[in-house]
Amino acid sequence: MTAISRRLTGARGSRQGMWMLPLLIALAIALWLSLETAQFLNGENLLNLVPQAMPLVITAVGQMFVILLGGLDLSVGSMISFTTAVLALGGPAWVLIPAVFALAALVGFSNGFIITRFNVHPIIATLSTQYILLGITRVLRPVSGGTVPDIVISAVAGSFLGVPMPVFWGIFILAVAWKLLYGSRFGLHLFAIGGGVSSGVEDAAHNFGIADRRNIVLAYVICSCFAALAGVFLAGRIVSGDPNVGLLFELDAITAVAIGGTQLSGGIGSLHGTVIGALVMALLANGMNLTNVSPFIQTTIKGAILLLVVALQSRKKMGL
C-alpha cells in the first residue's frame, strides 16, 4: 500500500517525476465525462479531442526539453504566431515550410547561444526573444489573414486511410521526442546537465566531459522547432496567419509540463508525463464545454484543478 502511494506521489528512486497521479486524474476526468455526457464517447468528439490537444502536446514536449535542463523558454508563444505569419506570407509550400523550421532553429540557437555563452538567465533571454519575435510578427502580419499552403491544411484537416491526420502527427512527434530523449546519448546528457543544475553544481556534467553548452543550445533549438511544428499545425487548423494565435501559449505549455511531473528545477521528468499533462488540460477544456459548465466559472475550475494536481505533487526540493 505504501509502495503504491509512494509510486503515485513521490516516485523517489526514479527520475521520471510523478506522472501516475496525473494519469489517474486524466482517467478520472474521462470517466466522469463518459458518465456525465453521452457526447464524450461519441466518435466525433473523440476525433475532435486529438487535434484540440495536439498543439499543446507538441509545444509542451518541446518545452520539456529545456525544462529538463533547468531552463525555460518563454518565446514559444511568439514562435507559434511567427510561424503562422510566415506560412501565410504566400508562396510555394516547399519554400515556406523549410523556411519556418530554419527560422525556428535560428531562434532556438540564438536563445541557447545567449544563455550559454553570455551567461544570461533563460527567463530574460527568452522573454526578450518573445518581444522581438512578436514585434517582427506584427510587422509581417498586423492582423490575421492570408492564405496558408494547401498542403498544410490537408495535412491537418485531412485523413489518410480513414485515420485523421492529427493521429499521424501525434505518432510522429512522440516518436521523434522519444528517440531524442530516451534513444540517444543526447537525452541522457540532458538529464545529466539538469541534474547538475538542480543540485546546484552547474558544471557537474561538464566535468564528466559532456559538451554541455552544445547540448543546451540543441535543447533550445528543439524547443523552438517543436513550437514551429505546433505553429504549422495551428496554421492548418485556423487556415490563416495570425499575430496573436500563440499568445500565452508558453504558460500553458509550462503548466502542462509541470502537471506531468517534470520538475522546473531540472533533471526530473518524463515524456509520457508531459503528454499526460497536456491531455489533462485538453480534457478539462473539452469536458467543461460538453457538460455546459458556465464559461464564467470555467477559469476558476481550471485553475483549481491545476492547483489540486500540483498540490498533490510534493517534492523533496523547494523552489521553481
Binding site: 475532435n48 490575421s144 489573414g145 485556423i238 495570425d242 496573436n244 494565435v245 473539452n286 464545454n289 455546459n292
Partner: protein, 333 residues
C-alpha cells in the same frame, strides 16, 4: 422583411442572397450555442454576453442556451465550435476571435446542417448562414468625420488605437484614414492603448508631457476616451475635441465637462440580435445573408437621454437589458 433584428440594422444593399424560408425550420424546444471571442476582454464584452443571455431567457422556446468563452484564443474557439457541433445544438452564434480563425469549424457546422450566425466581427469565408456586422470602418469614419468637421479640415491629432493585431482595431483605424483622406488633418502621434483605461492613461500622460499642442484626439473607444479626458483634467488643460463611444462613464464625463465629442454607436445588444436571428431561422423565416449595422454617431442631446446617473460607469448604451437586470448589474449604491 418582417424580422427586426436591432435598431439600426438593415439588410445590405446590392448582392445579398436570401436564406430561404423554412430551410432551418425546427420545432421547439431549441438549443442554441454561442461562441464568444472573449467575455472578459472588457466590460463591453461582458455586457454582450449578458444581453444574449437575457434575450435567450426571454424566449421560452429556447430550452437551453450554451455560452462558450474562447478567451481570445483562436484554438479554443475552433475547439468550442467543434464541441457545440458534437452536442448537436440547433443553431450556433459566433463572435469570431479573428477574421479567419473560425472559418473551418463554421464550415463544419454548416455541413452538419446547423445554421451559423456571425456577428461583431467579419470573417473571410462566407460559409456562414447569416451575419450582422457593425461596420468597424463606419465606426472609425463617424469619429474621423467628426474630427475633420470640428477642426475645419486642418490640424494635428493623436490617435489612440485598441489592441494591436485585433481586426476591429485595424478596421476602425482604416475608417479614420478614409475620413482624413484629402484633408489637412495630420496624425502626430499614434499609439495602442489596448482599449484599456490604465494603458491609455499612461499614453495620454506621456503624449501630453511630450507635446501638449494637439487639436483633436481620435480614440478608438472603450475606456480610452475617459482616461484621456481624465489626463487633461488632471493637468488643468482644455480638453480638445475627442471621440468616444457609448459608455455610461464617458457620457457622465461629457455631460459634466462639456467638451466637444461624438459617441459612435456599437451596441452590446448585438448579442440579443444574434439570438433573434437564430430564432428567426429556426422558426423558418426568411432572412438575408448579410445585415449591416451602421448607425449614425450620437450627439450630446441623445447622450443626455440615455445617460443614467444611478448606474455605474461600466454600462454601455444602447442596451436591451430589462430594467431589473440593469439595476442588478450596474446600480450604484
Amino acid at each position: 422583411d418582417d424580422v427586426s433584428l436591432l435598431d439600426g440594422v438593415t439588410a445590405r444593399a446590392g448582392d445579398n442572397p436570401t436564406v430561404e424560408a423554412g430551410k432551418f425550420k425546427k420545432d421547439p424546444p431549441w438549443v442554441i450555442g454561442m461562441s464568444h471571442f472573449g467575455v472578459n476582454a472588457n466590460t463591453w464584452t461582458v455586457q454582450v454576453a449578458h444581453e444574449a443571455e437575457a434575450a435567450a431567457a426571454k424566449d421560452k422556446r429556447i430550452a437551453k442556451f450554451i455560452l462558450l468563452d474562447a478567451g481570445f484564443d483562436q484554438k479554443k474557439q475552433v475547439a468550442d465550435i467543434e464541441d457545440l457541433i458534437a452536442q448537436k445544438v440547433d443553431a450556433i452564434i459566433v463572435q469570431p476571435v479573428t477574421s479567419t480563425s473560425a472559418d473551418a469549424s463554421i464550415a463544419k457546422a454548416v455541413a452538419a446542417g446547423i445554421p451559423v450566425i456571425v456577428h461583431t466581427g467579419r470573417i473571410e469565408s462566407d460559409a456562414f448562414t447569416t451575419e450582422i456586422q457593425g461596420g468597424a470602418e463606419h465606426f472609425g469614419k463617424v469619429m474621423g468625420d467628426f474630427l475633420v468637421k470640428e477642426l475645419g479640415g486642418k490640424g494635428n491629432i493623436w490617435v489612440l488605437r485598441g489592441l494591436a493585431g485585433h481586426p476591429e482595431d485595424t478596421n476602425r483605424y482604416n475608417g479614420l484614414l478614409q475620413a482624413l483622406k484629402g484633408t489637412d488633418v495630420k496624425i502626430i502621434a499614434e499609439e495602442h492603448g489596448d482599449w484599456q483605461y490604465d494603458k491609455a492613461k499612461k499614453l495620454c500622460e506621456t503624449l501630453y508631457l511630450n507635446n501638449p499642442e494637439v487639436d483633436g484626439i481620435w480614440s478608438s473607444g472603450a475606456d480610452m476616451t475617459r482616461a484621456c479626458v481624465d489626463v487633461f483634467k488632471q493637468f488643468g488643460a482644455k480638453i480638445p475635441p475627442i471621440t468616444g463611444e457609448g459608455n455610461n462613464g464617458f457620457f457622465g464625463q461629457w455631460i459634466a465637462d462639456g467638451f466637444k465629442s461624438i459617441s459612435a454607436e456599437y451596441s452590446p445588444a448585438q448579442g440579443a440580435a444574434g439570438i433573434r436571428a437564430a430564432v428567426a431561422l429556426l422558426e423558418g423565416k426568411e432572412l438575408k445573408k448579410h445585415y449591416d449595422y451602421n448607425p449614425p454617431g450620437w450627439d450630446i442631446e441623445k447622450v443626455k437621454k440615455y445617460y443614467r446617473d444611478d448606474l455605474s460607469a461600466n454600462v454601455w448604451w444602447p442596451s436591451e437589458l430589462p430594467e431589473d437586470k440593469l439595476k442588478e448589474f450596474y446600480a450604484k449604491k
